[in-house]
Structures are given as structure tokens and as C-alpha cells.
Amino acid sequence: MNSFWALVRRDLRLAVREGGAIGTALGFFLIVVSLMPLGLGPDLNLLARIAAGILWIALLLAALLSLNRIFEADYEDGTLDVLATGTLPLELVATAKSLAHWLTTGIPLALLAPVLGILLNLDLASYPILVGTTLVGTPAVSFLGAIGAALTVKARRGGLLLALVVLPLYVPTLIFGISAVSAAAGPAGMGAAFLILAAISLAAVVLGPIAAAAALRIQLQ
């Protein structure tokens, strides 16, 4: 486990020093959400009704922008070859890198979401639920995204391919993330949708790295 945490620590340090990936994702999130009220007009009831949906969609697209960095930099400078010779299985290498991506991109995006909710007249009671669902849902974003990042690591300008691979996988996260926020306002409460969202994240944390490692083995050939 020593090498697992060494890899996580190194990725966190690189993310802080290089900074660009976090900045791009947060900046994109901010821009999309702040343009939304300008495009839809000043109908506060309409904005409040669609706020959760807009925040979730913008969050997924913002995360998508940063996904390609999970493996690409390591592939380009030869680090991936050496990581594959470690005693740490490639599955855990993918886990460590996805975890670092969640910590540096998923959590900042989840924490920015309620701030941007102000722009969309999000109901005050929904704030804790929004933070809860984004924090619980973003691991799925990072760990499923790692599959796409691993598959497209050799593709130059593979952004479109990455989006086509990953976005369908994000649909369940999106549906249950939004329905947890809207259900919380209703009589049934958010229980079921929130638990399914948590289940999706847990499954992604387990299955994503296995698929990503299989993809990386092919890329190393």
C-alpha cells in the first residue's frame, strides 16, 4: 500500500503545482452556469425548477474536460511504462489515479455547485442535498471517466472520442443525482434516489479501475 499512497501523493502534488486542469474545470463550470440565466431570461421560478439539472449537466461536462489528464501526461513522458512494472497491480494504479482525480477535480466541483446555485435561484433548503449528491456522485464521474481516459490515451485530440465513450456511462449518475435533489422537495424524500446514486458510485469505484487497467494493458502494447 506504500506505493499506492506514494502515487496518490505525487498526483495531488502535480495537480497543485500544475494547476491548469482544476482551473479549466472550475472555470468552465462557472461560465456555463452563469450564462444559463442570461439565455433563459429572468424567470426565477423557471430557473429554480431547472437549477439542479443545469448544475449537474454543467458539472459532468466540466469534469469531462479534465478527464484526459488522468493518464495522458503519464503516457507521454514514459511514466506509465514504469508504473506497469511496479508490484502494485495496474488496477490499483488506476484506482490511485482516479482517486487523485476525484480529490483534485470532483470535490472542488462539488463544493462550487452550491455557490453557483445562487445564480440559478436554487431553493435554500436544497443546498445541503445538492452538496450531498454532488459529493456522493462525483466518485462515479472520476472512476468511470478513467475508463474513457485509458481507452483514448493514445488518441491525439481524443476529446470527442472520450466524450462519446464516457457520457453514456454518466447517464445513470445524472438521472439519480438530479432526481435525488428534486425528490428531496417532495413527500417521499430523497432516500431511494440518493441511495441508488451512492450504489452507482460504489460500483464505479470497484469496476472502473478494472476496466481502465484492461484498457491500459492494451495501450502499452
Binding site: R10, T79, V82, G86, T87
Partner: protein, 207 residues
């Protein structure tokens, strides 16, 4: 320990690169891979490291740690150096030592590895400002950061000056003297001890 390759057939991009190659390297020996550009030196090294699956034949390791694959017992030095520009020289070395090494390394092994390749003065220097040769030396310092019995070196002397090349040769000779194996693809006549040369023939040219 012995590394044995039997009847290897390797294809790359639909082209046959290695056709029916067998060889064995024993502990304490260095195998030098020679051959023209495109003869398959890199392909062979990447196959030995387990990145490429051969179309036929096998690579196995006798007398090593049965729990580990060949890749997990090997240091692979490829064309790229696996150096992160935003980390310092020491941080790069520390990461590889933690990632590749066993927990019971002695204190100061990072410093001594950097010193061997003449990087001790540059330890706190960001790797972004290193020259090509210094980056190469930092990549090579991995060999000494973690103890592994098999060294697979693909053109390790690229961008090294004469003095650094001698440091590399002495590291390889020390390694084989203490019972390690090394396979080195190179175009230079290096002063490697206990070395045999395997000449790879470009199949396209031979045909």
C-alpha cells in the same frame, strides 16, 4: 536466476519483426542487443518486459521470485525518462523509490543513487530546467533506487556524455557482478563485462 526466451515470434503492425528467436541470459551476464534501426531491439525488450504479447513462444524466468512476474522483477529504461517537470530532482527520485522499492531500503539510498549519476548537486532543482543528458541521468537513477535483478535498457546512452556513459557502464557492471542480469540495446561499443552480443537482423532487409 535465468531469463529464457523460447521460439519468440513477434509481430508489430502486421509486420513480422522477430521470427523464432531463442536465447537465455544467466545471472551475472549482460546481453547486448545489436542490429540496425528497425531490427526489433525495442520490440524485443518490450516483449521481455511483458508489455507486448508475442504471437508465439514464451519468456520465462527461472530461479527468481515465483510470486512476481518478470516485469515486477525488472527495471525498464525506455526512450522516455519518466521524469515529471514540476517536481524537483529529489522528489522524482523519492517517488520512484517509494513506488518501486521495498520498504526496507536503507536511509540515504536516494542520495547515493543520485550521487552515482552526478545529480547530488541538483537535488533541489526543478526537473523542468534539467538538460536532456541530466534528465536521462535522472531516469537512469531509477536503476539504483530500487533493487531489482533484471535490467532492460533500451539505448540507455542517448544524450549522455562520455563521463556519464562510464558511470552507467560501471553501474551495469556492478549489477551483474553482484548476480544481476542486464539486457542492453545499444549502438555504442560499451565496456560491459561478461557480455555477449545478440545481433538482430532486420527481417524486411533480409527478405
Amino acid at each position: 536466476m535465468q531469463l529464457i526466451a523460447e521460439d519468440l515470434i513477434i509481430e508489430r503492425g502486421g509486420r513480422l519483426v522477430i521470427d523464432g528467436l531463442s536465447f537465455a541470459v544467466s545471472a551475472g551476464e549482460t546481453l547486448v542487443l545489436a542490429g540496425a534501426n528497425g531490427a526489433g531491439k525495442t520490440t524485443l525488450l518490450r516483449t521481455l518486459a511483458g508489455y507486448i504479447r508475442p504471437s508465439a513462444g514464451s519468456v520465462r524466468c527461472d530461479g527468481g521470485d515465483d510470486e512476481l512476474t518478470i516485469a515486477e522483477q525488472a527495471h525498464v529504461i525506455g526512450h522516455a525518462n519518466a521524469v515529471k517537470s514540476s517536481l524537483t530532482v529529489f522528489e522524482n527520485a523519492t517517488f520512484w523509490s517509494e513506488f518501486l522499492g521495498s520498504p526496507n531500503e536503507t536511509d540515504g539510498h536516494i542520495e547515493s543513487a543520485l550521487r552515482h549519476f552526478g545529480l547530488d548537486d541538483l537535488a533541489e532543482f526543478p526537473a523542468a530546467y534539467l538538460s536532456a543528458g541530466q534528465r536521462r541521468r535522472l531516469g537512469l537513477s531509477r536503476l539504483l533506487l530500487a533493487k531489482r535483478p533484471l535490467w532492460l535498457l533500451d539505448e540507455p546512452t542517448v544524450s549522455l556524455d562520455v563521463a556519464s556513459t562510464e558511470r552507467l557502464v560501471s553501474a551495469v557492471n556492478d549489477h551483474t557482478r553482484s548476480g544481476g542480469l542486464a539486457i542492453v540495446a545499444t549502438h555504442l561499443p560499451l565496456a560491459l563485462e561478461r557480455a555477449r552480443t545478440l545481433e538482430l537482423v532486420s527481417l524486411r532487409m533480409a527478405a
